[in-house]
Structures are given as structure tokens and as C-alpha cells.
């Protein structure tokens, strides 16, 4: 205790900064002040409780809002929602401020010059956009349209239906800058794109570049905490000592982009030392011999050269995993090593699946499982009938054949707009331009399209690049279609209207796409309200809209996961496939082998790595005052530099440094820390927003993507967000 006791002096230093900040920041009106001003008029109002779903990240956790005087006060996480299990994260509470943000988009806008917009009526906006879409379809066909969105319950339904009604297959998600390569790589091996490590009941789990405590989904963190407290051996492989290391038995730093080398070497140990599950491999897999014949060259010593992890540590980890199996797995990762970061991300994801297969952990308690889920049944009402099936394949499927079609390669579509092959681009809740790859490049291509439309709640880099900007309601102001969520106990949950509409000229996503469809002459597919749709969907699972609004979340306890060895797979062979013809056709080896990263830092260079902080989601939360205030107060926008390297370079904590890549040069203050390996510079992915209409986030820190050249992972389509080399120097030195 004595060594770490905080001194009064230490307190004073920090507190003075906090006090100064508190006294000088203006223009922020609190709920308290607001409610006092208005309390006289409606002090008799009851507190209304509404169940809904968060929108601060893709997890969409369930919560209960206490609403009084038309404002959200207390919020609590819903116990039954598998992603939050009763607790929200900091974003959940803070992001609710978006509804009252002074920076909300309040009217449809039309671009009249560089960075300049004028407000227009909805009628004019829909008519002009509809006419342009009809002209594109008439002249170049529906394949010349592309729509990019970050999936949300209504967003997913309405965007896909709208594009299908027009006859276009080109609906993309944000996956290209998220989990596209992971899902695609896993699909090649398992025929399924996601699995969950049963960390709570495990004996050992290796996490590779994923941190449940930073990209926070509370339910996952609870599972990690339980596993650790139950004595599981939790290993964090990460260039950074991330915040999940609170629940890790060891942190093993790795040079980023070399995770595949570690997995290949560990697999080599399992096979060479005969530590793998023969029964599982013999009965439920195909192609093992191919991989076994390729592994011997990947010795632990070879992997040490690549990864920086000592060979004896690699051997130890492999043996420990074998000893813990089948209550052991490599966790699937998400964005970092496997999702979209490197030239070898997709193959890294495939190798993780095959390594886990050697452990025989599939479906076993404490191993890795596939959470059961429930889905909507067939809707009888003809108004909900699907538009004719679109036969064409999503654009990019030829160039990136391994990318799963349900996500697609969004950046390819934008590139095609630049080349004149895609004529119309529509973005829904997607800051593609600001976050999916190099922003300057994506903006240029977006501006080249004949038609570009962005639908959002605040002005973004994407909105700025578009001809039309349509103002969405915030997530607190609308009902959406039901959200079916997989989990140990699957549920259906509902985003409901927590608040009345705040800005009269905003419209919810369902009304926007219904309006667009009518303007494009395909309104017949949207002859219903979202309430009618939600009710009809829920009736197919024995519920009703009114019932779910009351309940908030409905758990399908009868469908709960029952641990049992998984022996059937949705691959062509019905087994786990060590070899893949599709991968071979795409230029990889039939079973995974080493794929060199696109770039590697030499002496004096660094790889720029990104990653989430718990209080932010990509660029989406940067302009939310309760969250950005934390960043500003604690200087969270600063890049992390290894302390030993900093000392050699004469750089001290808080010094201003200049960071340069082939694309961009920028200055910021630096955090010097022992928590990062020497060849990496970690720049949190949320900052460097330069949109003047975003008054909170403007000009705080640097944007990781500004440094990254535009490129796409061969075969898999990921954005290769960390394939970039930077140099740094101290400003004024």
C-alpha cells in the first residue's frame, strides 16, 4: 500500500487541471439546468420507463430509460440482454446525448459548393434523388448503384429491401473496415463466420489482438472475468498491453501483422509432438494431411524471428493449449489481427479455426461454440413479400472472391464510382469516407459519382462528400424492426421510441427509405408502417409488438445452448475443411501458410496500429460531448510510444511529435508508455475529425486513416488498416 499510496501533492497536480477544465468549458447545457428551467411547467409529469436498444456501437445492448419532461435521465442495462447482462458501458450512458446535440442534422441538405450546403424540402430532396436513381437504372442498370451501411435493425431491413426492389445486389456493410476478413476466412474453414469462446468455463484461452475491455461488450467481458476468476489461463497476444490484461494471466507482446506465424508454429508443435485430437481430426475434418505436410517449416525459431515472441514461449503455449483441450481455444478476434488490418488477416482467421479444430474444442463446454439464435418466420401478408430475387452478384465478388457476399467490399464500390462504373452511392449510418480507408481518396471518388446521398444524424466526412444529406432521427426517437440476438439463451429485443421526435424535419430510417422507394417508382414494396412490420415479424415467433414493448426483451429459454461436440458443418463436405479450393483459386495455398504482410517497419520506422478505446466507437462517438470530454480531460487522443524507444529518441511523455507516412504528416502530443512493443505506434481510431460542424470533436488529435494508403486485402477484401509505415520526430528538436 505505502508504495502506491496517492500523495496529496499528486492529487493537487491532477485536480488543478480538472478544475481548470471544469471552469472554462462553455456552451454545454446539462439536463439539470434544462430541467430546472422547464420544471415549473410540467413538474407533475410522471417518470416513464421505456425499454430500448443502444446505438453507440454494433452490439445494440438492451436498456431501460427513465424519461421525464421529455428527457432521458437514469438508464440501466437490461439483465436479459445477452450482450450487456444488466450493465451498459460508458458509451451507453454518454451516447444518449446525441438526441439533444446542437450539431444534429435538422433538414435535408443539398450541396451547393465545396463544403457548402443549403436546406431543401423533403419533397424536393426525394424527387431529385428519385429522378437521378431512375435515370441511372435506365441508362446503366441497377448494378450501377451501391448502398453502404453499418447494420442496425431497421437499417438492414429497409436498405436491402430498397436495393432489391431496384434490382441491385450492391448492399454493403462496414465490414471492410471491421470483421470482413475474419468472417470470410472462417467461412472457408467452417462454413460459418463467427464462433464464441466459452471463456467463463474454459481452462485456457488465447486472445489475439482482441480486447473485450476496450471494444467493450459487457457480456463478453463478464465471461472473461468469470473465466479468469475461475482460474482459466488467459493469454493476451497484443502489441499493446490492452485493458483486458486486468483479467489475463499473461500478456505476450507481438509485432503486429505476424500473428499468423505464431499460429502456424503452435500448430506445428501440436502436430509434431502428436498433441492434437486424432479422433476429431479423423472423423470430422478433411484435408488435414495437406496442412500437416506444410507445417514443419514453421518452427518456433522461425516464428520467433517474425513475431518477436521467444521460441520456448511458443512451444509452451502450444503444449499448454493441448493440455487444457478441449476446454481451450484461440478466441476469434474481430477487427485487429483477423478482421481488416493486414494482408494476411483472412488467412490468420482461417488458421485460428484450424488450430482450434486440432484441439477438438467445437461445441464443448469451455471450448468454442456457436450461439443459438431464433429468426423471423414467413410473413403471410402479401405486403411483406420480397421483391423479385436479384440474380446478379454483388460488385467486387469477382475481384475479391473470398469476401462474404453478406458484407461485400464497400471500398471497392467507392473505387468503382471513381472509375465511372458505379454511378450512384447511398450511405446509411456509415462514415465510409472518414473511416473505411484513406479519407481523401474516398472523398474524391465519392464526389465523382453522378449521385451521392448520405443519411445520418450529424455532419460527417461522408456527408461532406455527398450531394444530398438526409437527416435521420436519433435512435432514441424511433421504433425499429425487432432484433434477434444469438446467445447462450437467444432473445428478441426491440428498439422503441424513448423520446418524441425532437426536430420536426428529421425522419426515421423506415420513412426515409419508404419515401425514396416511392420516388423511385418501387413504393409498392413499402406499403406498410414499421409498427405493422414489427408486429407481423413478432407474430411469427408467437409474440406481438405490444407484448415486446412491455417486456423489452423476450428470451427463448427453450432454445438455450446445450454443450455437445459439434460434428456437422455447413461446408461443402459437411466437415471442417483444412483445405479450400476457393482459397487456392484466390492465390493462397489450399491450407493456410505464411503470408507476408504488405509492409514491415525497418530500424527507425513504426507500424501505425489502431484500436478502440472503451468510450468510443470508430468515428461515430467523437462528437458526443460526454464521451469526448473524457478524451480531452485525460488526453486519450495521444498516440502510444514505447518508453525505451522514446528515451533513445529523446522524447518525453507529453512532447509534441510529428508523424509521417507516405500519405500524411500530422502533429500531436505523445503518450510514452511501457505498455506497447517497440515497433508499433498506437493511434486510437477515433480522433482527428476535421468537420467544423462537429463542434465537440473538431481538431482533437489525428486520424489513423489519414496515414493509410488506399488498398484492399487480396482475396478477402479487408481495408488493411495497419499496413502503413510511419516515422516520427520530436517537434522543435
Amino acid at each position: 500500500m505505502s508504495e502506491s499510496t496517492i500523495t496529496r501533492r499528486g492529487f493537487l497536480k491532477q485536480g488543478a487541471v480538472a478544475a481548470a477544465a471544469a471552469g472554462t468549458v462553455g456552451g454545454l447545457i446539462s439536463y439539470d439546468a434544462w430541467s430546472k428551467a422547464y420544471a415549473a411547467a410540467d413538474s407533475q409529469q410522471e417518470v416513464k420507463k421505456v425499454h430500448s436498444l443502444c446505438n453507440s456501437c454494433s452490439s445494440k445492448c438492451g436498456f431501460t430509460a427513465h424519461v421525464k419532461n421529455g428527457r432521458v435521465g437514469t438508464m440501466t442495462g437490461d439483465d436479459e440482454h445477452p450482450y450487456c447482462e444488466g450493465t451498459l458501458c460508458a458509451r451507453g450512458y454518454g451516447y444518449a446525448a446525441v438526441a439533444y446535440s446542437e450539431d444534429r442534422l435538422t433538414h435535408p441538405l443539398k450541396r451547393i459548393g465545396e463544403g457548402e450546403f443549403e436546406a431543401i424540402s423533403w419533397d424536393d430532396a426525394l424527387t431529385e434523388i428519385g429522378d437521378k436513381i431512375k435515370a441511372i437504372v435506365a441508362q446503366d442498370g441497377p448494378e450501377a448503384l451501391a448502398l453502404i451501411m453499418d447494420p442496425r435493425p431497421s437499417g438492414s431491413y429497409y436498405t436491402k429491401r430498397f436495393m432489391a426492389a431496384l434490382g441491385s445486389p450492391n448492399t454493403y456493410t462496414h465490414g471492410v473496415a471491421c470483421n470482413l476478413a475474419k468472417t470470410s476466412g472462417m467461412t472457408q474453414a467452417l462454413g460459418a463466420g463467427d464462433f464464441t469462446s466459452d471463456v467463463a468455463n474454459s481452462k485456457m484461452v488465447i486472445f489475439i489482438g482482441r480486447s473485450y475491455a476496450d471494444g467493450l461488450r459487457p457480456g463478453s467481458l463478464h465471461s472473461l472475468q468469470k473465466g479468469y476468476q475461475n482460474g482459466s489461463h488467459i493469454v493476451m497476444i497484443d502489441p499493446r498491453m490492452n485493458n483486458s490484461c486486468t483479467y489475463a494471466t499473461e500478456w505476450i507482446p507481438i509485432r503486429p501483422a505476424t500473428d499468423l506465424a505464431l499460429i502456424l508454429a503452435m500448430a506445428n508443435v501440436l502436430v509434431a509432438e502428436d498433441l492434437y485430437d486424432h479422433d476429431y481430426v479423423d472423423n470430422y475434418t478433411v484435408g488435414f494431411e495437406d496442412w500437416a505436410s506444410r507445417l514443419p517449416e514453421y518452427t518456433p525459431e522461425w516464428a520467433e524471428e517474425k513475431t518477436g515472441i521467444p521460441a520456448d514461449t511458443i512451444v509452451r503455449l502450444a503444449r499448454e493449449m493441448a493440455a487444457a483441450a478441449p476446454q481451450a481455444s484461440i478466441e476469434q478476434g474481430w477487427r485487429a489481427a483477423t478482421g481488416c488490418s493486414h494482408q494476411n488477416s483472412g488467412e490468420t482467421a482461417r488458421a485460428i479455426c484450424l488450430f482450434n479444430t486440432l484441439l477438438g474444442c467445437w461445441g464443448v463446454e469451455g471450448g468454442a461454440y456457436f450461439p443459438p439464435s431464433v429468426s423471423v418466420g414467413k410473413l403471410e401478408d402479401p405486403r411483406f413479400a420480397a421483391p423479385p430475387k436479384v440474380e446478379a452478384k454483388i460488385a467486387g465478388s469477382k475481384e475479391y472472391p473470398l469476401a462474404v457476399g453478406s458484407m461485400g467490399v464497400a471500398t471497392h464500390a467507392v473505387q468503382q464510382a471513381g472509375e465511372g462504373n458505379i454511378k450512384g452511392l447511398i450511405f446509411y449510418q456509415s462514415n465510409c469516407v472518414g473511416g473505411y480507408s484513406n479519407p481523401a481518396q474516398l472523398a474524391e471518388w465519392t464526389k465523382a459519382a453522378d449521385l451521392s446521398v448520405a443519411i445520418d444524424v450529424q455532419m460527417t466526412e461522408t456527408c461532406k462528400a455527398c450531394q444530398y444529406v438526409l437527416p435521420d432521427t436519433s435512435y432514441l426517437e424511433r421504433l425499429e424492426v425487432p432484433e434477434f440476438v444469438g446467445g447462450k439463451i437467444p432473445v428478441v429485443a426491440l428498439r422503441d421510441r424513448v423520446l418524441e421526435k425532437i426536430h420536426p424535419e428529421t425522419r426515421p430510417v423506415d420513412e426515409i427509405f419508404t419515401g425514396l422507394a416511392k420516388a423511385c417508382g418501387v413504393g409498392q414494396y413499402f406499403d406498410f408502417t414499421v409498427d405493422e412490420l414489427a408486429d407481423a415479424q413478432l407474430k411469427t415467433v408467437g409474440l406481438s409488438l405490444a407484448q415486446l414493448q412491455e417486456e423489452g426483451i423476450h428470451a427463448f429459454s427453450e432454445k438455450a445452448w446445450k454443450p455437445q461436440l459439434k460434428t456437422e458443418w455447413k461446408t461443402k463436405s459437411g466437415k471442417v475443411e483444412f483445405t479450400s479450393e476457393a482459397c487456392e483459386k484466390a492465390g493462397f495455398t489450399p491450407s493456410p501458410t505464411w503470408v507476408e504482410p504488405l509492409v514491415m517497419p525497418k530500424e527507425g520506422q513504426f507500424r501505425l496500429v489502431g484500436g478502440k478505446q472503451t468510450i468510443h466507437t470508430h468515428t461515430q462517438t467523437a462528437n458526443i460531448a460526454p464521451l469526448m470530454e473524457i478524451s480531452k480531460q485525460y488526453s486519450l487522443e495521444r498516440p502510444w510510444l514505447n518508453a525505451g524507444v522514446a528515451k533513445q529518441m529523446g522524447i518525453e511523455d507529453g512532447d509534441e511529435i510529428e508523424i509521417s507516412s507516405e500519405m500524411f504528416t500530422g502533429r500531436t502530443r505523445v503518450k510514452v508508455t511501457e505498455r506497447i512493443e517497440p515497433t508499433s505506434l498506437y493511434l486510437p481510431s477515433h480522433y482527428g475529425r476535421m468537420i467544423p460542424e462537429q463542434h465537440v470533436s473538431y481538431n482533437v488529435g489525428l486520424s489513423q486513416m489519414d496515414f493509410v494508403p488506399f488498398h484492399i486485402e487480396p482475396g478477402y477484401g479487408g481495408t488493411m488498416a495497419q499496413e502503413v509505415i510511419v516515422t516520427i520526430k520530436k517537434v522543435g528538436a
Partner: protein, 180 residues
């Protein structure tokens, strides 16, 4: 008697800031007004590193310097041992801010008063038992709220079992106990 206190187990704190934003929402605070602040530290050198995050808020001291220096009696200790501020009596002189060794008092420009954690316990968590917004929100459950005068409270049991201590010794008789 009731004497409210809290335990914070920093070995379970991941530094996620959920307690801060939940507190702001519960207490209707502006984005830049915080009742909870954080200290963090690293130990060791790469690659043998440790880190610790310590959330700090009003300790509800029994020997509270903020109460002693308050010239108007705005700062006081109520019958539950909770240190409170009477906004009507506060003249915004900030003596209490200077006196508080934990630096957890904030001047709210909207009200002109000095504010801080008020153990928001009893206010609006029906169905969740007696708890504060920071306790309710904590993703890892590192906080326990309760009655220090009740020998059977979970709080007292946890303080004894985990050897929890005030953050900076017992100089102010602080009622938040830390596990580190």
C-alpha cells in the same frame, strides 16, 4: 444508525469510465462536470508491466475538511454520514475545493455552487436494491455500497475479507475503502 460507505476493488477496475457517464446521467450533469475522476499508473518496464486505474470521488469523510472550512454551513454531514452540499447556502467561494485532499469537488458554473458525489443511493433504482449509479453501472462489479454500521452488510464483510483501506490513510476518516 446508518452510516453509508463504499468499497472499490481496483484489481477489478478496467478504467472504462462507465461509472462517470452513468453518474453524469443519473445526476443530470453537463459533459464537463464529473463527480468521479481517475488516477492511473504503470509499474515495471516492458514487457513486464502492470497497470492500475483508481476511480476517486467524494470519500464522505467523517473528519471532512470541506465541512470545517465552509463559511456558510452549506457543506454538512447528514444523519447517514453522507457529506452534502446545500446549494442554497453555497456562495461558490471554493474554499472546500482547496481543502479537499482528494480534489473531487467541482464548481458548477450553471448553479454557481460546488458539487460532488452525493451517494445517490436512495433516489431511483427501484427493484435494484440500495445502490448508487456508479455501483449499478460498474461492468465488472468492482464497487459495493452499504451501511458501515451494519456488521452483516456485504460491504463490511468485503472490507474485512479483502483488507480494504482508505486511499490515503485514515487522516480524514474516509468512508470509501479500496482494494488494491
Amino acid at each position: 444508525m446508518t452510516r453509508y460507505g463504499m468499497l472499490i476493488d481496483t484489481t477489478n477496475c478496467i478504467g472504462c469510465f462507465a461509472c462517470r457517464t452513468a453518474c453524469q446521467r443519473q445526476n443530470g450533469l453537463a459533459a464537463n462536470i464529473d463527480y468521479i475522476r481517475y488516477e492511473d499508473r504503470e509499474t515495471g518496464t516492458f514487457p513486464n508491466v502492470g497497470f492500475e486505474v483508481i476511480p476517486i470521488q467524494c470519500m464522505h469523510c467523517e473528519d471532512a475538511p470541506c465541512v470545517s472550512v465552509c463559511p456558510t454551513g452549506a457543506s454538512y454531514i447528514d444523519e447517514t454520514g453522507t457529506v452534502r452540499v446545500d446549494e442554497q447556502k453555497c456562495i461558490g467561494c471554493k474554499y472546500c475545493m482547496a481543502a479537499c485532499p482528494y480534489l473531487v469537488r467541482v464548481h458548477n458554473p450553471e448553479t454557481g455552487a460546488v458539487e460532488k458525489c452525493k451517494f445517490c443511493a436512495a433516489e431511483s433504482f427501484e427493484g435494484r436494491g440500495e445502490t448508487c449509479s456508479c455501483v449499478e453501472a460498474c461492468v465488472t462489479g468492482c464497487r459495493i455500497f452499504g451501511d458501515l454500521d451494519d456488521p452483516d452488510s456485504d460491504l463490511n464483510k468485503a472490507i474485512a475479507e479483502r483488507n480494504a483501506l482508505p486511499i490515503a490513510g485514515d487522516r480524514t476518516k474516509a468512508k470509501i475503502f479500496y482494494v488494491r
